[in-house]
């Protein structure tokens, strides 16, 4: 056992080097406007290197493994919740962009504004956008408005939707029964320290966190320290 421990240490160190990734330059200034972040989202998004090409998705649907754009999108999303409804004009403008990275990001981000966001442009995107991801996130965002989503004719939207995943999400939007995005979610995103982005590195202390389980139990990673080892699985690596 001793020997296998040393060997595993070497293997894990190599794995650690492979996983020790870039860090986003600290442009996480909370006063930075969403409009500027949207420019960065475009800059850091690439059409190149997408994997899993298929007939249905000729350009591929899997983000390149070395993609760094997600960190920019995360910072931009945080900027959206910090700026709140003041960011709506920038996001609506982005919804009209020919740049798909703008439209997908804006559709995702608008949902976090909950009841404050206007439904018209999202409904338009849910009906008309050529890109599946935009329609899907527009549907999610409409559902996240809570009571405000009441007036939407979900059935007709479902009828005309060609993609099965989007139809499924229309189902979820209906099923959430007017439950809007929880303010706690928005608060968590607002309070998150961007310096902790991508800081899980092998052979270093695992970043601590507290999350609530689906059955309502609050669980803190560090509560297992000295008691148990933990296997932590992110079931949807990318969503």
């Amino acid at each position: 056992m001793r020997r296998s421990c040393c060997r595993s240490f070497v293997i894990l160190s190599i794995a650690g080097l492979a996983f020790a990734q870039w860090h986003v330059p600290a442009t996480a200034d909370p006063g930075r406007r969403v409009g500027l972040w949207l420019q960065d989202v475009s800059r850091d998004y690439s059409e190149q290197g997408w994997a899993q090409k298929s007939k249905r998705y000729p350009q591929g649907y899997m983000r390149p493994a070395d993609d760094k754009g997600w960190q920019t999108r995360m910072l931009a999303l945080r900027a959206v919740v910090i700026e709140g409804k003041l960011s709506i004009p920038s996001l609506l403008e982005a919804m009209e962009s020919s740049d798909i990275s703008q439209r997908v990001f804006a559709a995702q981000a608008l949902g976090y504004l909950g009841a404050d966001l206007p439904s018209g442009p999202l409904l338009h995107a849910a009906r008309e956008d050529k890109l599946t991801a935009v329609r899907l996130y527009a549907v999610d965002a409409l559902g996240m408005r809570g009571n405000a989503a009441n007036a939407i004719d979900w059935m007709s939207l479902r009828k005309q939707e060609p993609n099965g995943d989007v139809r499924k999400h229309i189902g979820y939007a209906v099923e959430r029964k007017n439950a809007g995005i929880h303010q706690e979610v928005v608060q968590t995103l607002k309070n998150w320290n961007p310096q902790s982005m991508n800081t899980a590195v092998v052979s270093q202390p695992a970043p601590d966190f507290e999350l609530t389980s689906a059955t309502g139990q609050k669980i803190r990673l560090s509560s297992y320290r000295g008691k148990k080892s933990v296997v932590l699985v992110f079931v949807y690596g990318d969503t």
């Binding site: 991801a133 968590t188 970043p207 059955t215 669980i219 080892s229 296997v231 992110f234």
Partner: protein, 111 residues
């Protein structure tokens, strides 16, 4: 699979799953498979703000959302709180088997 789950959980180890959706969505997804959240043998932790996912370098993609575009990630943290194993999948099916996880756990050597 269930047996493996018991091996993982039995070896002085806790299994935690992280899901980036809101709770109601997880419930709805489970319902599709005929389960409720009470049937789960391990805590399903909800991370709808995606802050824990981003901290662990497992963040949201954007392009075409299909089920098979998920890239699950697996981490092993030893008893002293040190991260000992990290695998962020390149594709949906690129993930350690339960047997590999058990092997990694035995490597921890009681730590």
């Amino acid at each position: 699979m269930r047996e493996k789950l018991e091996t993982i959980q039995g070896a002085n180890t806790e299994l935690l799953a992280v899901d980036p959706h809101e709770t109601w969505a997880a419930k709805s997804l489970l319902k599709d498979t005929g389960l409720s959240t009470d049937d789960l043998q391990f805590p399903l932790l909800m991370d709808p703000a995606q802050t824990v996912s981003a901290t662990y370098g497992v963040a949201f993609q954007m392009r075409i959302h299909v089920e098979a575009s998920n890239r699950p990630a697996t981490f092993i943290i030893d008893k002293s709180g040190v991260l000992r194993y990290a695998r962020r999948a390149k594709t949906f099916s690129d993930r350690p088997t339960p047997a590999q996880v058990v092997r990694e756990l035995t490597k921890l050597d009681g730590k």
